[in-house]
Amino acid sequence: MSYGLQFYGTNNQLIFDTDFNSGQTVTLNPYYFDSQGVLTPGTNTISASSTLTMNMEDLLFVRVNSGTLRGNMTYNTGYTQKYFVPAQDTGYFIARKSSSVVNITSLGSYGLEIYAPPDSQGNQAVTFSTRRADSSVNVDYIFDSLELTHNQSMWSSSTTGIYVTVGHMYYQFGGGTMGCYNFGSSSITYDSQLNLGIFGQASIPNSGSVLIVSVRG
């Protein structure tokens, strides 16, 4: 397309671009499930051993105040849903694209909405809408695939309000970890090491990107 909308931040970082290749850009917003299972803007806490059920496309961000952040991610047969069971009480939110959530009625009927170009059926996805989010996910740090090894320091500032992504996560007592974390008040380290019995232990690097983010707004 030769037209559209882009905006950048003060350090020239891209914030929004309707012209990113296909123009199908959608902005992720933080949500959680309330006690009735209703998707609600904001963040929440899930108790240890509870199950958090998400769409496969939902991105899960988690945190703890201090200590290990471990759990298991499993999937349904059709890979349309995934289930996260934390090993400890865990703060979380899921980031869901704007086109997949509805307007927040309390935000009113005005604001800024950006639509994607119509698809073959003429439908236009909402790529950005102030009516669908009262907060945003701010990226603070990025590790590319395979950049992390077990026990590597990922963050050395305050961890207040800091979340990390969960791709695949595995934890078994005595068996090891994969894609887990250790939180301190001012540190986050990567926890991903399998116990191989007589063969010792093996560090499992990150598969896919790991984002360190905070919720703004």
Binding site: Y3, T25, V26, D134, V139, I142, F143, W155, I204
Partner: protein, 709 residues
């Protein structure tokens, strides 16, 4: 108590008193408590003489030392009366009695006067202390105690307004003492003592006599008696007895010739005028003398005459017994505060002195085997001046001047809480201070004190003494280390470049370490093989960090390297601790760009841009500092059936600073597929089955969510 009675004829023309002796100004001397009777008789020829009368004095007082006012009339003759009293005061020592002859009409007949002067000895006058036991051939004291108010009356210096006492000291009342061999006897023993009787002449309190029994004095109890002189000038009688003391004479014990000198090699400083020496052992009946000769003396020779005659052979003696520590000092003079100051050796010379034992009368001088040497060292040398030494100095030569043969020198210092003998030097040598006795690195200082000792003979030396010249010590100080830190020239470094901090020092020994901390960067912002502390070599060290592209356009950062406050030697690195700051330029910036219609792209900086607030306008959701996650697409690969898959070809996934992938996987944990970014022109990524994903046990489905940020 004694009673004194005599006749006083009223035949004088005035009251001038007579005296009992030429050296006394008193007519009568008596003890408080004695009775005095004076019979006054007019023996003149005046027929008008009617009655003997008394003048009360002083000032008409009838209460102090006056006689009975109702005098006894003898023979019914008023011209023959006896005046008496037994009530002499213990504190009013002197009294004057005046008599005259009156007519029947009253006073006033020439040549009918008389007067006497009375001295009353207070009851507190007497022996204050008598040595209780005195060995033959030794001496002990008997000491007087005299009330101070009484002293002037017996020394002829008391002044009274009511009487014309002599005050010029020309009269001094005398008191007699004698040694008797029984309590009742008043006869002095005839032998056995250097003196068995004598007088105190105008004595003061504390005066004493020396009782010196010799070997002929029978070992028994003796009595020492104190008398006054009566109105006839007589003494040594029961009536004149004032006080009695007693003492025992014990048989002569052998001299104790076994002593130990505290020091047999005494060193004295070049400017010394005296030295000290003590002994231990010995006997309480034995005196010890130091002479500079070892000749023999007759047993009757009084060795102390060498002292009293200031003989050149005499060095010192003991004057007191052993103290509580069993020590007895030698002294040249009894008042010289335990010092010996006779016959000191000249510079760099040695003298040998000899010890004698004598009895308490300084007789029976016996040469002992004890000797000692005293030598004078040259303690006036010039030491090096205080100075700072480098951190690489491991041995220091301290040259000094002014030394001389016959003296040895050393340096001592207080090192590590211990006084340490640092170095020794003989004449012509220098001091050498070894590494372990030099100040530690880090600005430490040590004070070295010089001492000297005389060479007695061969390898025998006198005592060490402090120096006495213009320099007695010097200080060595290690140079103080300095630290500084500097970043690269220009103060900036880009992501992807190395950031090196150079630590520059001075006066720091190789191998010294100094801690450092880096602030302003996150651990993921850099990689480094450097670790704290840094090791200093040749006064330099460096710490290098490889700054990584953090894939986040998060702005420039300030990296600061700060040194620890002290290095491994404990030396301060500075206050505040040195530090350097460098700007790490954020080169992760993807640049402006923008759409084809986006004009110049970029933007956002400055005072314009997009600001989105929440509905309550209480919080900012998006502004120029936001870094927003955008979801682009998702895809999956099932490694049960696919060995690789290319995804997201519609998207440029070549830059990890722009795109990321959130991956889920349900296969074997160690068989996650790998993700390879394709070039910008090809677009997308390739997800490849892992090599160890060899079957259904390891295979799984990887779901990849493509996000942009």
């Amino acid at each position: 108590m004694a009673t004194w009675s005599f006749i006083e004829y009223l035949d004088n023309s005035g009251y001038t008193p007579w005296t009992h002796s030429s050296w006394s100004q008193y007519s009568v001397v008596l003890k408080q408590g004695d009775t005095l009777n004076v019979n006054t008789i007019y023996n003149g020829t005046n027929t008008s003489a009617y009655e003997a009368q008394y003048v009360y004095a002083p000032s008409g007082s009838t209460t102090v030392n006056d006689p009975d006012p109702t005098a006894t009339t003898n023979n019914n003759d008023l011209l023959d009366k006896t005046w008496s009293t037994s009530s002499f005061s213990n504190t009013n020592h002197h009294s004057r009695w005046f008599f005259f002859t009156a007519t029947s009409a009253g006073p006033g007949i020439a040549n009918g006067y008389a007067g006497i002067r009375i001295l009353t000895i207070p009851s507190t006058f007497g022996w204050g202390g008598v040595e209780s036991s005195i060995e033959q051939n030794s001496a002990g004291n008997a000491q007087l105690t005299i009330p101070s108010s009484f002293e002037s009356y017996i020394q002829g210096t008391a002044a009274e307004t009511a009487d014309s006492l002599s005050t010029n000291g020309s009269y001094d009342e005398r008191f007699h003492w004698r040694i008797t061999n029984s309590a009742s006897s008043h006869t002095a023993v005839s032998s056995g003592f250097a003196a068995s009787s004598g007088d105190f002449v105008g004595p003061s309190s504390g005066d004493f006599i020396s009782i010196q029994p010799n070997t002929s004095a029978v070992a028994q109890v003796y009595y020492i008696k104190l008398y006054h002189y009566d109105y006839n000038g007589n003494t040594g009688t029961a009536n004149t007895l004032i006080d009695v003391g007693s003492f025992s004479v014990t048989a002569l014990a052998p001299l104790d010739t076994t002593i130990t000198l505290d020091d047999t090699s005494i060193g004295i400083a070049g400017n010394a005028t005296s030295y000290q020496l003590q002994m231990s052992g010995g006997g309480s009946n034995t005196l010890y003398y130091i002479l500079n000769t070892n000749q023999s003396y007759a047993s009757t020779f009084v060795l102390d005459t060498l002292r009293t005659n200031n003989d050149s052979r005499y060095i010192g003696r003991t004057f007191v017994q052993n103290d509580a520590n069993g020590k007895r000092p030698f002294e040249t003079d009894s008042t010289s505060s335990n010092i010996i100051d006779h016959d000191l050796p000249a510079l760099n010379t040695v003298k040998t002195n000899y010890i004698y034992a004598t009895d308490g009368l300084s007789k029976q001088a016996t040469l002992l085997t004890n000797t000692y040497a005293v030598a004078r060292a040259d303690t006036d040398i010039t030491l090096p001046s205080s100075q700072t030494i480098g951190t690489n100095v491991t041995s220091f030569t301290a040259s000094f001047t002014g030394d001389s043969v016959g003296t040895q020198y050393r340096l001592i210092a207080y090192i590590g809480g211990i006084f340490t003998w640092v170095s020794t030097a003989n004449y012509g040598d220098d001091f050498t201070i070894a590494s372990g006795n030099l100040p530690a690195n880090g600005g430490d200082s040590i004070t070295y004190v010089g001492q000297a000792r005389p060479v007695i003979s061969g390898t025998a030396y006198g005592d060490w003494m402090n120096l006495t010249g213009t320099t007695t010590q010097f200080v060595l100080t290690r140079a103080t280390p300095t630290y500084s830190v500097a970043g690269p020239t220009g103060g900036t470094v880009n992501e992807g470049q190395n950031l090196t901090f150079d630590i520059t020092t001075s006066n720091v020994v190789n191998g010294t370490t100094v801690g450092w901390t880096l602030s302003g960067l996150q651990s993921g912002d850099y990689t480094t093989s450097a670790s704290s502390p840094a090791t200093i070599q040749n006064n330099a060290a460096s710490v290098t960090f490889a700054i990584v592209n953090d894939n986040v356009t998060d702005g420039n950062k300030t990296a600061t390297l700060t040194l620890a406050s002290t290095d491994s030697t404990g030396a301060s690195t500075g206050s505040p601790a040195p530090s350097a700051s460098v700007t790490v330029v954020d080169t992760s910036n993807p640049g402006g760009g923008g759409g084809t219609g986006g004009g110049t792209g970029g933007g956002g900086a400055g005072t314009y841009g997009l600001l989105i607030r929440n509905s309550g306008d209480t919080q900012t959701i998006i502004d120029g500092s936001s870094r927003i996650t955008n979801f682009l697409a998702s895809d999956s690969i099932d490694t049960n059936s696919q060995s690789s898959k290319t995804m997201f070809t519609n998207f440029d996934c070549s830059e990890k600073t722009v795109t990321g992938f959130i991956v889920t996987w349900d296969g074997a944990l160690y068989s996650t597929p790998t993700i390879t970014r394709r070039s910008s022109s090809l677009g997308g990524i390739t997800v490849t089955k892992a090599s160890n994903d060899t079957g259904s046990a390891t295979a799984g489905v990887a779901t990849v969510e493509l996000v942009r940020y």
